[in-house]
């Protein structure tokens, strides 16, 4: 190696400082403060919403319906603890979420017809006839409803 004269180490030290700050900042934000959003699949009523279709197994012999929900992690933690399984509060946007909550329903135009399950008026009437009538106050199906 030839002698390059005086080597400037300042960029390296700045890099080290930035690296430490970056890692420290990330650690504080994600691990200590838990300042992030979590996304998960929430319950979806296919009679009232346009839901995503999920499969219970690889062969897809049994389907289930879901919407996508994004919530502020500390709120979810406060409502349900670390595990949202069997936690009803995690399934909807509540007033204590203070706007840091978003539910996304399936949009056939965007997500594809096969991905979404929508109960049409004909389906609804057929089902009503079969079941012998439903509550008239029940809402009709929504398309691409996003509630914030």
């Amino acid at each position: 190696m030839k002698d390059m004269g005086r080597v400037n180490h300042i960029p390296f030290y700045i890099f080290l400082v930035l690296l430490l700050l970056s890692l420290g900042g990330s650690y504080y934000r994600f691990v200590i403060a838990g300042d992030y959003m979590v996304g998960y699949e929430a319950d979806c009523d296919q009679y009232t919403e346009t839901c995503f279709i999920g499969c219970e197994d690889d062969a897809c012999t049994e389907e289930y319906y879901y919407s996508l929900i994004k919530k502020y992690a500390p709120n979810v933690y406060a409502q349900c603890g670390p595990d949202i399984t069997d936690c009803q509060a995690a399934q909807a946007c509540l007033s204590e979420d203070a706007g840091l909550c978003e539910i996304t329903y399936c949009n056939p135009a965007v997500d594809g017809e096969d991905t979404c399950e929508t109960l049409t008026e004909k389906d609804f009437e057929e089902e009503t006839a079969t079941e012998g009538g439903v509550d008239e106050t029940e809402e009709t199906a929504h398309n691409n409803f996003t509630e914030i």
Binding site: M1, P11, F12, F15, L18, R29, Y36, V38
Partner: protein, 563 residues
């Protein structure tokens, strides 16, 4: 928060439900990279190139480990923190690759300006790593950040990878054009190694993420294959170490192959499904480690011995060169010294002769006898100096030959006529005989030929206390050769002496028996001169006390055979 569909991993990275390929691609690759990086670094801790290679290998190793955590861990806060490290390492590996390639090609550190440029490129990744622009959150259903990653940040990371790759290509191509053959042979594998590493590492990782995001793949397990990019780099490094001793490491191919074999067998342990296969792989690994160790030890010993011999050859070559220089210096010294001696000697001889001959008046007989002794000694000394001068001229390559056609028989006859009186004075009979069937014409330097014949006749006279010295001129027209043979009835010589009598400073072992003075250079000079004139000189004797024969052979001039 935990990813509720997955189970907690054991030992941080071992979880059920993940593809086996995850471990098979990640663990061996990371271990190989780390072993190579640490091995190279430990061999020369102060070399910048070695430090940079270690930095790349360490970054890659940590990146692989973070990737394993991302695939297996279920805690959102851990995943998000590790995700930021994972992203930063992408940028770091890009910059380090360029830095490494620059130092490899230029054998020099980068300029201060370049350092600032590197910092400028990596700084945005560090500054924005903890921000929403990088990561907003985590999908705890799929346990991934797809849909939560910042597009701008991701594009910047990809862009940095592409810039690094192009930078490496440009640096390599530029250096290739301005380098010699040896460096070019190193640039090709290293340039390809680093470029392929960056290309595979970045392209496959981001293509896998993209294809998963658009739903073409159920998960981004395609990214596993991106890790094999590191193998291109490591292979290039290993090739250069073995072939060119790059990084100042003495490693032989056998060592590299044995280590590769260990890793291959060791990696089987990670994919073996049954206990039996694992046991077999384990035993094979132990045997391979023992056998490989013994093989490497043996090869290393042989290589060290070979290197010692090579080192000795180099030392000998140097010593030989030095000796040649010293020999030349000695010849020059002898030449200068001889010239300095010759001039005063001529005066001594001249004035002594004049005094002895009475040019300055009649001297008493005893004084005349003493002066004659001075003349004889000065004459001998002049002849010795002439021999020394001839030797130094021959060794310095300064001897000049004036070639011409002449009758060799006549020259020999004249020499005999000149020396006959001296022979008679010594009580010897000197005979000349010619058996020539041709004109005896040769093409040589007449003066030097005469000198050689005179030397040989004088030599025979010296070693013949009594009897005859016969000079025979003869030829062989068929062979087109002319010969002068000097035959004596002197002390003769052994077989050993015959072989070395023409060497420098060699005198017959029985020389002192006949009280002969000489430098041991006359025959050496004679042989050198005749050889230079495309002839040959050799000696024959039936043994000590049985006389000797000296032969001079020169080629006859074509077309002048026949009297």
């Amino acid at each position: 928060m935990i990813c509720y569909w997955y189970t907690e991993p054991t030992y941080l990275i071992f979880a059920s439900g993940v593809p086996d390929l995850l471990y098979y691609t990640h663990i061996p690759t990371a271990i190989i990279a780390l072993v190579v990086g640490i091995f190279v670094f430990l061999n020369n801790r102060h070399a910048l190139l070695n430090k940079l290679l270690l930095a790349i290998c360490l970054s890659f190793g940590i990146w692989t480990f973070t990737n394993l955590i991302l695939w297996t861990n279920i805690h959102s806060e851990v995943l998000l923190f590790v995700w930021t490290i994972y992203q930063i390492l992408f940028g770091l590996i890009s910059i380090l690759s360029v830095y490494f390639m620059y130092v490899f090609l230029e054998k020099n550190d980068v300029s201060n300006l370049m350092r600032w440029l590197f910092l400028l490129l990596i700084a945005p990744m560090l500054i924005f790593a903890p921000a929403n622009i990088n990561l907003e959150g985590l999908d705890i259903a799929n346990c991934g950040a797809i849909g939560f990653e910042g597009t701008l940040y991701m594009l910047y990371t990809i862009g940095l990878g592409v810039i690094a790759m192009l930078w490496v290509i440009i640096l390599s191509v530029r250096k290739y054009h301005s380098s010699g053959q040896d460096m070019r042979r190193q640039i090709i594998p290293m340039g390809f190694g680093v470029t392929l590493f960056l290309f595979t590492f970045f392209s496959i990782n981001f293509i896998a993420s993209y294809l998963t995001e658009i739903g073409l793949f159920p998960d981004s397990s395609l990214e596993f294959y991106g890790l094999y990019g590191m193998m291109f780099f490591i292979m290039a490094v290993a090739y250069l170490i073995v072939k060119f001793r790059a990084f100042n490491i003495k490693l032989v191919g056998a060592q590299a192959l044995v280590v590769a074999l260990w890793f291959l067998i060791g990696s089987l342990l990670f994919v073996a499904q049954s206990t039996t296969t694992q046991v077999v792989a384990g035993i094979t690994l132990i045997l391979a480690v023992i056998g490989g160790y013994l093989l490497v030890k043996s090869v290393k010993k042989e290589v060290e011995q070979r290197e010692q011999i090579e080192g000795l050859v180099v030392t000998l070559d140097k010593a030989n060169e030095r000796l040649k220089i010293l020999d030349k210096m000695k010849s020059e010294f002898v030449s200068i010294a001889s010239h300095q001696l010759r001039s005063p000697l001529t005066s001594i001889r001249g004035y002594a002769s004049m005094l002895a001959e009475g040019s300055y008046g009649k001297l008493p007989d005893k004084a005349t006898e003493a002066l004659n002794n001075i003349v004889d000694s000065a004459k001998f000394m002049a002849l010795s100096i002439e021999d020394y001068l001839n030797v130094s001229r021959i060794e310095a390559g300064n001897m000049k030959y004036e070639m011409s056609d002449f009758n060799m028989k006549d020259v020999a006859e004249k020499v005999v006529d000149e020396m006959r009186q001296s022979a008679i004075k010594k009580g010897l009979v000197m005979v000349f005989r010619s058996d020539c069937t041709s004109s005896a014409t040769v093409n040589a330097d007449i003066g030097k030929t005469r000198q050689v014949i005179m030397n040989l006749v004088d030599n025979s006279m010296k070693y013949t206390p009594k009897g005859t010295v016969t000079v025979i001129a003869h030829d062989d027209v068929k062979k087109k050769k002319m010969y002068i043979t000097i035959q004596d009835t002197g002390v003769g010589m052994s077989k050993e002496t015959q072989e070395e009598v023409f060497d420098k400073f060699v005198r017959a072992k029985n020389a002192n028996n006949v009280n002969v003075t000489g430098t041991g250079l006359g025959l050496f000079v004679a042989k050198k001169m005749i050889t230079e004139m495309k002839g040959r000189v050799w000696a024959e004797s039936e043994g000590e006390g049985k006389g000797s024969q000296f032969h001079i052979e020169l080629p006859l001039v074509p077309g002048k055979s026949g009297r």
